[in-house]
Structure formats: structure tokens, C-alpha cells
Symmetry: C2
Subunit: 339 residues, 2 copies
Amino acid sequence: MATTNIKEVAQLARVSVGTVSNVLNRPEIVSPATRERVFEAIKKLGFVRNEVARHLRAGRSRTVGLVVLDVANPFFVDVATGAEAVADDHDTMVVLCNSAGDSGRERRHLDQLEQQRVMGVLITPVEAEPPWLEELVARGTPVVLVDSPATGLQCSVAVDDRLGGQIAGAHLIERGHRRIVFVGGPPSIKQVADRQAGVTSAVAAAGGAVELLTATSPTLTVAEGRAIGERVAALPPSERPTAAFCANDMMALGFLQAMASNGLRVPADMAIIGYDDIDFAAAAAVPLSSVRQPRELLGRTAIDLLLEEVSEPEEHRHRQVIFQPDLVIRDSTAPHRPI
Amino acid sequence: MATTNIKEVAQLARVSVGTVSNVLNRPEIVSPATRERVFEAIKKLGFVRNEVARHLRAGRSRTVGLVVLDVANPFFVDVATGAEAVADDHDTMVVLCNSAGDSGRERRHLDQLEQQRVMGVLITPVEAEPPWLEELVARGTPVVLVDSPATGLQCSVAVDDRLGGQIAGAHLIERGHRRIVFVGGPPSIKQVADRQAGVTSAVAAAGGAVELLTATSPTLTVAEGRAIGERVAALPPSERPTAAFCANDMMALGFLQAMASNGLRVPADMAIIGYDDIDFAAAAAVPLSSVRQPRELLGRTAIDLLLEEVSEPEEHRHRQVIFQPDLVIRDSTAPHRPI
DNA sequence: TGAAGCTCTTGAGACGATTCAATAGTTTGC
DNA sequence: GCAAACTATTGAATCGTCTCAAGAGCTTCA
């Protein structure tokens, strides 16, 4: 409404708009007296700079879009927190968008971000090889893939999910389990496919002694984990696996609830290991073993790469940063049979 | 870089920029033949509308800022999810900002949002009577307070926290507890103060038979809950309360962990009730009793009020919407002594 | 005294879209 | 056959800021 602009400030301070702009952007080149008058006018009018106009002129805004698969998953919240911490130090804003694992929503968010001419996009894509990626970059929006290794054309930060799956699988096998279920989402999600490949290789390494079942769901939520847990609990004890490796901690928490509500003890009747090591994993009904990812570091590194690409487009070389996951052992995989 | 603009499209389609704009905004007034030519040009050039320029002209953007106290708290994520669902239907974007309970960060986020000329701001303020509120509104940015009753000058959505505290207190007293600790944050946070006032009144209603202790912390996090839990667990059994009412579920989860690590049984040695009823409460080590708030509904209602205010500034009357909380009883407050 | 070299300030021209009055071209009605 | 009415398109002004060449006013020094 009553938004005052630079012109009114100029009028009140009896200077030109150019001078007001100088006071705002390079105060040192304006004489102290004038500067003071302008500051007073700004204060009196309650003038607030219009970023929209600034950025129209500048061509790009100081905003970064962060598109995640699921805001309800604390893993992504932590990634966002890391990114925001770095952004804060660079006078940059992070806009958090939730694709909720839906390509349509993802596409709409990207369109909006591109229309806003954001400085760049950090994204955990719904699909492994997103078709829009190349075009978006070609039109001038830098992209950093998060928690998803790039095909080489872009920057990316990721954790070695295959190794993570292998670690989890090896841990369960070492604990004496011979019948393991992988509780995952759709293999179209790269992370899920990799974690599955990892556990599969661990099982293969055991040389035929271990059996691996698979249960998948469209999304990686607590509710889906619970649903799969119900199905698994309903199996006759002879067919039921003795351990579950869940594609993330959300599913593991749901799976755990299903065990409890069906009277199955964890880890005695069913050992469970999750993935991500979100803070809630340690506080679960049975503290969850998990595969830890450096969550905040992922976010920090992603935005670092983006800022580097934006500030030095010439020297910048796309890089794929890979972190190592860690095994965190808690009660949910405590030994239950003497080996 | 190579961002094409409306002028290039016009050139390629051999029409004026005005016509391209018309195709984009009121295609029905353009002849089919011309329209087709323009669409082809748009496609060929990969033209993406520049929202920044649009909004400069329009004066305001279709973006709403949502400033929350703690993104790590799933309560706020759910509020955000509700708000975003409504925003989606109105071609509006929600920018999620985290004040992390810090006035400085809050201020910076608000400055940025105001500079961006957002349509409006939804905020759970750090302080009860934020000094910036009046000025922000006076300068033309509508504000809706979330989970915090307005002083009457603005719209707000909130849950009756006093009632919630009372319900929680009454429940614990009814379960036979005579020594209760309120585990809260700083009373400068309105919600905390109200919940405390509620439990205090419930205790008062019991007529001197019940004792209420208080432990406060600067923030309402899992870590703080754990820290307070450690202190409480260290008390000699004779002085130790038998029940805890935590200002939110995050603290309750931390408190619960401290009990477990100190060998205290929940609810036998210590009953616990939280607040918010986040999804993780049901999945905790001991499923948590809690006071449920209509989380998504808060978000939906808040943005509804904002959109109404923006679209019909004349007819709009500021309203304070208050929801009722519900008691959710789970194992953490199961009866431990026959009454 | 006048040229040269300062320091400040100015004002016009972007940036990319929208909007609207004006116009050109077509059809209708009498 | 000509005015009126309508349709489709144009072009210029506008939003609020930044940038930069140009100018104004002052000091310095030969």
C-alpha cells in the first residue's frame, strides 16, 4: 500500500535518486552530510528497499531453491538446516520446497523457481535421471544434486548408499540373521535402489546361506513402514524373516510400531535397522540401529558448490562429492541368539 | 545467462511484445493463428516468464512467508504442510523460514520477506508482543499470527494453550500424581506461559494436595528435555516428582530418554505427558501421552485468513480463531498406582 | 589565472513484463 | 454507401532500482 520508494526518499532528502541508491550501496562515495540526510529520510518514511526491482535489474536474485523429497523426514530438515547456515553467511535465502516424491509437484516447484530466476537449485530429484535437468541448466539455472550422484554433467553431493546398504546387511548377517527383508520404496528412487544393491551384495557375499526378501512401497513414510510391517508380522513364523533393513528411519519407525502392535519383540523376534540416523531413531520404542549420513554436511557442501559455481562460472569445474556412511548400533539389532 | 525474454519471442513470432503478453495472460483475446505462432516461438526459444518483472509491475508477489520457531519440530512442519496445501490451490508459494527461537534471525527473515514484497507473512513470533508487528503492518504487509493469539489488531489462529495445560494437569492428577514437574521453555514464549498457567490452575483446583515444580530451559528441544530429565532423575526419590508435563513433545522425548538411561521406568517411576502429539510421539520408547493440536488445520486456517485479507481488504475484519486441544492418552501415563 | 585533478551529485537509460489507449482492419446494420 | 460496432494488434508508459557517463563545484599548483 503505502510502500515508499527511493524517489520519495530522494525528494525528502533533496537529492537525486541516484544518490539515494549510492547511499544504500556504496555509502563511502557519498559525503557524510548528504548520507546523513538520506538516512534520516529513510528512517522518517520507513523506507524498505524493493528487492524485486533490484533483482530485475541484477538479472538474478540471491535466493536458492531447495527441493526435497519429504519435508516430514527430519533427514531433509537437517540437510536444509546445513544449507541455510551457509546461505546465511552469504546474504542468501533458501526457499524450501517439498516435492513429496511426486514428479508433478517437483516440476511445478522447479517452474516456479525458474520463473523467479533463483540463483540456483539444490534438489533431491524424484527420478534418478530427471529429464528436465539438462534443459533447466541449459537455460541458465545452475543445479546441484543432493543425496543423489550426478551423471557427471552437474555438481552433486551424496553418500555412498551402496556401501551403506552393504554395511547394514553385513551387520545383520554378522548378528546371525539368515532371513532378511529389505523394506524399501520404489526402486526408481536412486537411493533406494542403491541401498538395496548394497544389501544384496552383502547377502551374496555370505554365499547362499542368507535369504533376502523385498517389500516395496510407493513412498518412504512411517505409514508405509507400518503397513509393510503388518504384512510381515502376518506371515507364519516359519516364513517370517528375523531381521529387517528399512530404506530409511521413517519406515523403520513404522515397521517397529507394527511389530509392537502385533506382539513381536524387537530385536528377539525381529531385528530392525534403519537408514539416516535421524534424531528420533535413538528415541524410538526400541532405540534403532541405523546407517548414519552426514546430514547437515550434505546441505552445507551442496550450497558451497552452488555458490562457487555462481561466483566463478569460468574456473568452476563440476564435482561429485561422495561421503561415507557410518553404522550406528543400538538395541534394535542387539544380538538375540548366541552365534 | 541465455535467458530469453518476451521481446525475442515477439521478434521470432513477428508480433509486438504486447501481443505475446496477451497470449500469456489472456489467450482468448488473441486470434488462434497468432496465438499458435507465439506458442511456437516460446517453445523454440525455451522462454520462461520472468516472475520478478511481473511482480515488479504488479506491486506484490504471490509468495507468502511462513516464519516458524523451529523447523526441526514436526509440529511446525505439519503446520507448514497445511498452509502449503491451501497455497497450492491459489497459485501461491510458501517460503518457509526458521527463526530457531532467535529474535535476531526472526528480524532478518522478516526484513528479507518485506524487501521481497511478499503477499503476507504467517508467523509464530519469538516474543509474545513483537515490537516490529505494528510497523510491518503499517508499511503494508499483512500478518497472521500462528499458534499465538493476536492482541486484536491482527488475524491469528491458535489453540487454547491454557486449556491444554489444564487438561494435561487434570489428567496427571486424576492418575494419582501428587508431585508434578512442568518441563518448559522460557516463559517469554506465550505458548509455554499459557500451558504453564493451565497446569497451575489444574493443580490449584486440586486444593493444595498437589505440588507443582518447574524446570525451564532456553529452547524447547530434545536435547534440553534430556538435560532437564537428567537433573530430575538425579533428585533423591523422596523429592523426585512422579509425573512430568513437558511443554512440547520434543522435550518429552528427550525427557523420556533421560529416564531410560537412568533406569527409571515410565510410567511406573515417572509418568510423562507431552504437547502437540507429533507423529513421533506414538512411536517413542514408551508411547507418549500428549495434548493434540490440529496442526495442519492451523496452517490451513492461517493462510485462509491471509488470502481473504489480501483479496478483500475492504470487507476484511481481523479475526482471532481459537481451536480446542484434545487429550491423547498412551502408555506414558498409564495408571501406576491403584487410586 | 587557468588548467588539471579532485570529490560529489545528477539524470538518463536499462532490466522484463503488464496494461491500456489508440489504431488498423473487418463486419454489421440501416 | 457509410457510420457504427467489433476484433486484433500495437506501442508507449509504468513498476523501483542500479549503473555509468557527464557535469558541477572545489582545490591545487604552475
